[in-house]
Symmetry: C2
Subunit: 410 residues, 2 copies
């Protein structure tokens, strides 16, 4: 295999979209280089379970090299991209330069604090394994510190948990923290009663889970309230502090604040000259290419197609696969592909034990059936036999014992 | 239950010895407080498997509160001890003061660099989960950096792994790194061949595994060599640097050095006025109490009994149980216990796939049988059903696929 004979495809970011693009090129006569800052891909839909001590980071992560080990035309580079030279067609990374003929941008999102980046320290979000380990540490430490606190006021603050944002991640976090407080830790302390914890879910819009139907939204609210979560809708967080959040005049004292409110595209769009939407995503054409650059594509949360697409894993995968197939067709001289069309399979969010909401094309599921559907779907989409086995066993064990297997403060 | 009516027992350190002492007091009319810097107990015999990416930290750790949740007379405090007032009988911790009638010291060991604490940064040891995660990070990063290195010299240095110390931990680490290089990563890189890695095990004494028989020791050496490990005996490390180790005039270039050579007792002995041996352990009497202080006991690696006891988990457990029973007998006014006698069950060390050495009282096992015995014994001694299941499945999966489930660089 002579290197020079091949078309070079560089993919920045090994998330759902980037990896799917690489795989779609497995049989194409190209040389694929995928570069990521991490050595692993992380299954973000289950990050909240790492943050709430159910499963271990490695259970939802997989080495990128391991995923592509048998794909001979793919090479993995662990490194950080610094910039892109669109004229010379080179990606500059910290240790290495990567020339390309085709470029795929799939760098995902990061949290958005609506112009208040200083809130991040008080209210970490959930986008990476490091984030999830930090949130887990804060939640578990809050109970530890409450146990030794001398003053009732401190104990109250330490036992108050605030989740900002009522989308699936916020709902899942609120439900999971309620379970930790009411069930998992029930017998573990001698001076405090973890069941007296206050868990507040704050949503700025009129209802939680706004992408679901009103019926499912109302069901989720009732379920959370039955678990002891205070659901505040139409409430806008105006500041996050080290020891609480402000909602206009009102204030909630808490040292455990989780941010699940907003995201913004990572800076891929700034590396190239491209028009962006308000969330920082690159406005792409019908074939997901960047206007004026038929050789550069954006997929997943990095892309804003003409018809809006939700920021979820299946959407990123569909875009990645499409771009991989399109590049292959071009290189092989096959007929051009139809424009990209997103097919929405459904929305899922779990609330807690035996409780989830599922919206598929024609059916809506709730309660135990919804929860079972959610569990099976998530195990199915995990990468690797071992992870599926371990997560399934861990969920069964947690379900039977009300315990959590990863209560580590590190 | 009125607090004042009870005898107060404070246990410092929730390792094998401390926890066993707490459990032995479950039915005694005492109030037990166990204080530890961590919220979890870690199963140290399998730390090397975390360091070599087989299992996750949470698989070998268990929250101390979880272990003692049903023991109503036990209270767990997460905190750091600052000092002990032997006259007032109070343990001072960062957030809290703990008065005691009986005190158990079980603070374990830390690495000893033979008077060169500055070596630690270049050559981390393996005593805590944080250590293991750091070693794992260094090993995995070495391969990543070798893949992008431009110079052959850098590649060679990055693909050289040095383990200092030929006891069980050193042997296990060397075997595991050899497996990572020769099998796990075999197909994962495009520019380097991980199989060309050099793995060196350095032992100052005349043979590795000195606590085993000469026969087993020779078997372990042959097995390691067959796996491609260079075993250097009678070789003394005279310095550890960021980029290599010195053995007198000789030098081995490496950025991945693991310290498994020496340990020293943690500073418990310095908190009280007590005579110590060379390894910093408190010289205790026949009942494991500190001379002149019948109310203070030392167990596990913190204690140096009259008859030497090895620094292994079963020894710490036996001492902890003995002290718990002794305190109970005293509080209940039962007859005094016989002096402590250690019963040695055996020594185990695994070398790699299908290879381990086991020395029991009358039998010695090697090869596949030894490996099976080692595996079953370690799963049996893990705490928690979930951990046993998950570790067993992970081992089976690793055995069948040659893969490792926790290849995370965080």
């Amino acid at each position: 295999m002579t290197a020079s004979a091949h078309t070079r495809v560089v993919i920045i970011g090994a998330g759902f979209g980037g990896l799917e693009a690489a795989r779609a090129l497995a049989k194409a006569p190209v040389e694929v280089t995928i570069i990521d800052r991490q050595n692993h891909q992380c299954f973000q839909p289950l990050l909240y379970q790492v943050a709430t001590a159910v499963i271990s980071p490695a259970d939802i992560a997989w080495p990128i090299r391991g995923i592509l080990r048998r794909q001979q035309n793919a090479r993995v580079v662990m490194g950080t991209v610094i910039g892109i030279d669109e004229t010379a067609r080179v990606v500059h990374a910290d240790d290495i330069d990567l020339p390309y003929d085709y470029l795929v941008l799939s760098t995902g999102v990061t949290h958005s604090y609506f112009g208040h980046p200083d809130w991040e320290e008080s209210a970490p979000g959930l986008k990476t394994l490091t984030d999830a380990i930090e949130v887990r540490r804060r939640i578990l430490l809050a109970f530890e510190h409450a146990e030794t606190a001398e003053k009732e006021k401190d104990r109250r603050r330490l036992l108050t948990f605030v989740i900002v944002g009522g989308g699936p991640t916020g709902v899942e976090m609120a439900g999971a923290i309620a379970e930790i407080a009411r069930q998992t830790l029930r017998f573990d302390f001698r001076r405090i009663d973890p069941r007296s914890s206050r868990i507040v879910l704050i949503e700025a819009g009129p209802r939680i889970l706004p992408t679901f139907s009103e019926k499912l939204s109302a069901y989720a609210k009732r379920s959370l309230e039955r678990m002891g979560v205070e659901v505040m809708t139409g409430a806008m967080v105006t500041a996050c502090h080290r020891d609480g959040v402000s909602l206009g005049e009102k204030r909630i004292d808490s040292e455990s604040i989780v941010w699940a409110a907003g995201v913004v595209a990572s800076p891929a769009a700034q590396w190239i000259e491209a028009e962006r939407d308000r969330a920082g995503r690159i406005k792409v054409g019908p074939d997901l290419s960047v206007p004026g650059h038929p050789e550069i594509f954006a997929v997943g949360d990095t892309a804003a197609p003409l018809t809006p697409v939700p920021g979820i894993a299946p959407a990123a995968k569909q875009m990645g696969r499409y771009v991989g197939q399109l590049i292959r067709a071009r290189v092989e001289g096959s007929p051009a592909l139809e424009p990209f069309v997103y097919r929405h399979a459904g929305d899922l969010a779990t609330i807690g034990r035996k409780s989830a909401v599922v919206k598929l094309r024609r059916i809506e599921l709730t309660g135990f059936i919804g929860w079972l559907f959610w569990s099976v779907a998530h195990i199915y989409f995990l990468i690797g036999i071992r992870n599926r086995f371990v997560v399934a066993i861990t969920w069964l064990w947690s379900y039977l014992t009300y315990q959590r297997g990863a209560r580590l403060i590190t």
